[in-house]
């Protein structure tokens, strides 16, 4: 009357082979490369496998074949809709080819990123998806030494050396700033993500600066760096408004939607009208950005597509096919209700 939970270590391939009346090698081939065996033997093996409830032993397979059929993804955090949907897309794309996703997050801590990447490599991942192009030297070393293909995402590599799928954060950010400039804004403030060790945040900030500089403007003294989250966005705006230079701006460019949403909430609380008193822009276009009223003007990034492409490219490379070093995904300015011309006078 023992529970089924007591059952131990199920059938091995050798058992399947014996049951089917074929050799170990034939059984292996029948399951892995059906083209290599006769149809009837394949059927025999398959039936035997089904009857015994055979489950291949991943580690043994990995050891013998030198590929684990797993891909690792190393994310800053999974607690951000854009990474969540990219993850979903990667997993789906991989599953279709019999690969499994191994996920790791480092919470924006560079050292942790190296550690978790090493852990994945040790686990024998066949490929890696990383976010951004800016990483510790040790990370690059580890990846290179392991010799596994790697895709850098959400960015483009200016040196053209690494494989990446993404877009120019700088251009995109300049584009959104340009939109505000065209509306007539001249006094800008910026809520940026932490730029240290984060090329996306850095590039976005640079994009704003460039766009402003082209008009002889700047946002000096009205730039604050903070963690990418709703709560931090809110706190950051609060801090900004308490600065001497505070309040003296009509447009607030945010490093991502979370920050922008936080800023909107703070404005609502303070009675600052958006967009009448202050125009706000985001970056990413998460679901919430469209649902809120007013809708957030932001830059749409096809995050699922980024994940899907990265996974697909990895699979291609693992199959021995070449892919272009760089793959751009289209981003698009989405103008909604949080941006408008500045009030005539303040």
């Amino acid at each position: 009357m023992l529970g089924a939970a007591m059952r131990k270590s199920s059938a091995r391939l050798a058992d399947v082979a014996r049951t089917a009346g074929v050799s170990l090698s034939t059984a292996s081939r029948a399951l892995a490369e059906p083209g290599l065996v006769r149809e009837d033997t394949r059927a025999k093996v398959e039936k035997a496998a089904a009857r015994l409830g055979y489950v291949p032993h991943g580690a043994a397979r990995a050891l013998a074949s030198r590929r684990s059929r797993t891909i690792g993804a190393v994310l800053p955090t999974v607690d951000n809709p854009i990474f969540a949907s990219a993850t979903q897309a990667i997993a789906q794309e991989l599953a279709a080819s019999g690969y499994t996703l191994l996920l790791a997050a480092y919470d924006y801590a560079p050292d942790a990123e190296v550690a978790v990447t090493r852990a994945l490599l040790e686990r024998g991942v066949d490929g890696l998806v990383l976010v951004g192009a800016d990483h510790q030297r040790e990370l690059f070393q580890a990846v290179d030494q392991a010799g596994v293909p790697c895709e850098f995402t959400w960015t483009l590599d200016s040196s053209g050396y690494r494989h990446c799928v993404g877009f120019s954060n700088r251009l995109a950010s300049a584009q959104i700033t340009q939109h505000l400039l065209e509306l007539g804004h001249r006094k800008f403030a910026v809520l940026s993500g932490h730029t240290a060790g984060n090329d996306r945040a850095r590039e976005r900030l640079a994009g704003v600066r460039e766009a402003l500089a082209a008009r002889g403007l700047d946002a000096d003294g009205r730039i604050v760096e903070t963690t990418f989250s709703l709560g931090h966005g809110r706190a950051a705006l609060r801090e900004l408004l308490e600065r001497p230079a505070g309040r003296d701006f009509t447009a607030l460019v945010c490093g991502n939607d979370l920050l922008a949403l936080g800023a909107m909430l703070e404005c609502r609380e303070r009675g600052i009208r958006v967009p009448e008193d202050l125009s706000i822009t985001g970056f990413d276009d998460i679901e919430l950005a469209a649902e809120l009223a007013p809708g957030l003007t932001t830059l749409h990034v096809p995050s699922g597509e980024v994940g899907r492409r990265a996974a697909a490219r990895l699979l291609e490379r693992l199959a021995g096919r070449k892919v272009a070093r760089e793959e751009q995904v289209p981003v698009e300015l989405i103008v909604r209700g949080t941006t408008a011309p500045p009030a005539k006078k303040r």
Copy 2:
């Protein structure tokens, strides 16, 4: 002038052993069970390993030792803040013990859940974290056959047979309904998650029904099931309001915060004042619930804690220690601004 990327298959344990001038077995022990070798040999081995940049081969280790030091988590979706933070917590707890998290999501599709769970089992996970207690028979079979310890989360198992860490969704949901009843509400509507194959959604709905029934009330005709997401919540409320019985309610109980937030947004668009015209409650207490104005009245679930505990329990069990079958995490009613007594007359 070949890039470092060309370097192939690094040092093996045998190389380390040779370099250190010890046998393979000693090298293995020095790295895995330092207590079994003399201090100076341990140091020699460690030095050799460091010098050669030795990285253990996970698959080989797993094959020989029959444990992979990986834990699998199977989630409905990673695109929900509560699962995201639980995941973060699990990974962190595991990492501290040298374990790695293997993540899989099934997007609320029962068949996909079985498939991804099988994939994880095949990958040789040492343990499993599942969400909810309601799963396909095949899933239970696969898990039992594999004989790996498994923790069911976000729920309690009424049969007391499975290991779980969570809380009673039914009681919690009844509690929040009770709050509305005490405010004087008598006409209820419900936005529920899909109940098929989802015991959490089912229990929450049952909790509302029970609390209402205890007062001789019901919400019949004003219950709609939909997918747990902001957009769907919004659409669901819209649909509800178009029903014949529509609008004839003063309180809306939602299956989770995403649904509630969607409903709030729809209300704002339609000019339905919250809480004056309609009281709304959520479930989970995601970050956004507190930041919005008015703040969402909801039930706080310590999602990080759920993940952390599940991981900790798994590690305990893997170490051969016993843990209580069931572990409850505390949930708490958080009253914010979306609930108030119903308007005197409508």
